[in-house]
């Protein structure tokens, strides 16, 4: 029987929305900020783990991240919730990668693994917020991509059928495997780590793959392999003042009326 390998791609992000940006380098100030797994990626991990529990054709689960050495922590966390093994893609040359270079690196790693039956991504990251690494990776691997999956309805060794959330409702889509999907948080409720998982994770050696191991040249990865560069990051100035009126409709109308009356003088 053909078995399916599931690869879950995850990312470490700053665990706060109170982000500081270095005005000189235009990059995030990471010092003193606790790093966490990108929240959407924890749903991707849970789906990978539960797929293996639900479907006997899933032979194994691998978690993958590209990041600095300390990103190994989320790969260990992945093992503690039941992922079989993890791989860290790390190399000083990977730094500053945009979605293009990131997708190139991840797809090279997936090829190195020997391909995957199913790739699972989180919908988007908390920091970059682009939601593009998933589809771009799928494109490079020349496999179909389905975004915003809220349920895996069925999967056999050849096909996957999913429900996904679009702006105006749900769609049910079927596609051939291998395929890549990105998941939204309705898809499951991530479990808490198990004690045996945590003990396995604490002993696990996470292999580190660098650019030469992946067969990628310096021009293909990191900042030099990126088409986009962050020129400036800034908080937009508030151009309008917003006020939310609360209470019943009558009360809101009353408040609006009072407000407008107060403004009359200036008009």
């Amino acid at each position: 029987m053909v078995k399916i390998k599931v690869v879950v791609c995850i990312k470490q992000v700053p665990g706060t929305t109170d982000i500081k940006i270095d005005p000189k380098t235009n990059t995030l100030v990471r010092e003193g900020v606790e790093n966490i797994i990108n929240p959407f990626d924890s749903y991707a991990l849970e789906e990978g783990v539960s797929l293996k529990e639900r479907m006997e054709q899933v032979s194994g689960t691998i978690a993958l991240t590209m990041g600095p050495p300390q990103a190994a922590q989320i790969l260990k966390d992945a093992i503690s919730v039941g992922i079989d093994s993890s791989i860290l893609l790390s190399d000083p040359e990977f730094a500053g990668a945009d979605t293009w270079a990131t997708a190139k690196t991840i797809s090279a790693a997936v090829k190195k693994i020997g391909g995957a039956g199913l790739l699972i991504f989180g919908k988007q990251t908390l920091d970059g917020d682009t939601g593009q690494v998933g589809p771009e990776t799928a494109q490079r691997l020349n496999i179909p991509f389905i975004g915003y999956v809220s349920q895996i309805i069925e999967m056999d060794k050849k096909k996957i059928r999913v429900k996904r959330l679009m702006e105006h409702g749900y769609e049910t889509i079927e596609t051939n495997l291998p395929a890549a999907i990105s998941v939204i948080k309705d898809i499951n409720q991530p479990r808490v780590p198990s004690l045996r998982g945590k003990m396995k994770a604490s002993k696990a050696e996470i292999p580190v793959w660098d650019s030469s191991f992946l067969g990628l040249g310096p021009k293909e990865v990191g900042l030099s392999g990126s088409f986009t560069q962050v020129v400036k990051v800034f908080t937009p100035k508030a151009s309008h003042e917003v006020m939310m009126l609360e209470g019943s409709t009558e009360q809101q109308v009353e408040k609006l009326y009072e407000k407008l009356k107060g403004l009359k003088a200036g008009v």
Binding site: V192, P193, S194, L195, R196, G197, K198, M199, S202
Partner: protein
Amino acid sequence: MDYFLTEEQQMIIDICREITEKKVKPIRAELDEKQVFPAEILKEIGGSDLFRLFIPEDYEGMGTGIFEVCLATEELSRGDLSVATSYAASGLGFLPIIISGDEDQKKKYLPGLASGQRLAAFGLTEPEAGSDAGGIKTRAIREGDHYILNGTKQWITNGGEADVYTIFAMTDPKKGSRGASAFIVEKGMDGFEFGKKEDKMGIRASATRELIFNDCALPKENIIGKEGMGFLIAMKTLDRSRPAVGAQGVGLAQGALEEALDYSRIRKQFSTSISSFQAVRHMLADMATQVEAARNLVYHAAKVVDSGKKDISRLSAMSKVFASDMAMQVTTDAVQIFGGYGYMKEYPVEKMMRDAKILQIYEGTNQIQRDVIALDLIKKGF
């Protein structure tokens, strides 16, 4: 505070904390109000290997001591005592199998209980026999290859939810407390039914129910140990589990103290936070000191139990009495620090105070525990 824990012990606490913060706190008030058994949370607890702790490795457990069970129980109690009680009651139900069960019973029952797929319960109390457990009337009469069970158990935690029940019944009433035996009864057996579910003051999300046996025929293999060993098994079990009741008190009180401390910092009266008033500060200081003292007594008692020492009744009873009385006091003081808001259901301390009371009652009332301590003290001195 450093308790010099191993990496594994710290992991147990971290896991329970994650369960408490993510899965329990957001819904505890609703579970309490609607009296909903926290089945989902217990599944999560099972998936996290927490039922495996005290079960030997040969039966898919992790072979830790009672100390580790206390760490888990304490942290779960910090979130919700109904959850912690349901967790601990399953342990109480399977402890007799670990302590006195035979190889076949261990192989048959422990793996499913270790994974949390199945829950256990401990059935000793009856309508006419509470503190005086020797007065139980449930009968088990041997007939060929079976024991025929008749009688009613009352207030059994996890009743209806559990699959495996340790039931104490008289095999030879003439012998009094030496005439009791312990049996394994499974949900679904003919002649085994559930009576009413209690509507309680506290731990309302836990299931407390009647078990009714009506000519329930048990295979003779379901006796734990030998005929007449029932009370010995019950006492051995309770001696080992009592530090975990103490741990419930420590966790519950810790939770109340944290709430009270946070509130005292933000509540302003007379233009200043109430934590600046000496009366409030001293209450907080006493609460923190009491919690710490109880924790140390519970940890010590658990470690003595784990050392394999035989003479553990006194210390084990002390840890239960001290920590449960402390929890009652600390949760009451937490309500006091909240003032009128503390009396309202919008804040968690109201429920914590209601929950605390049970700790002075179940697994032997604190009066009975004091009797145990005094008796041992007077008989043996130090």
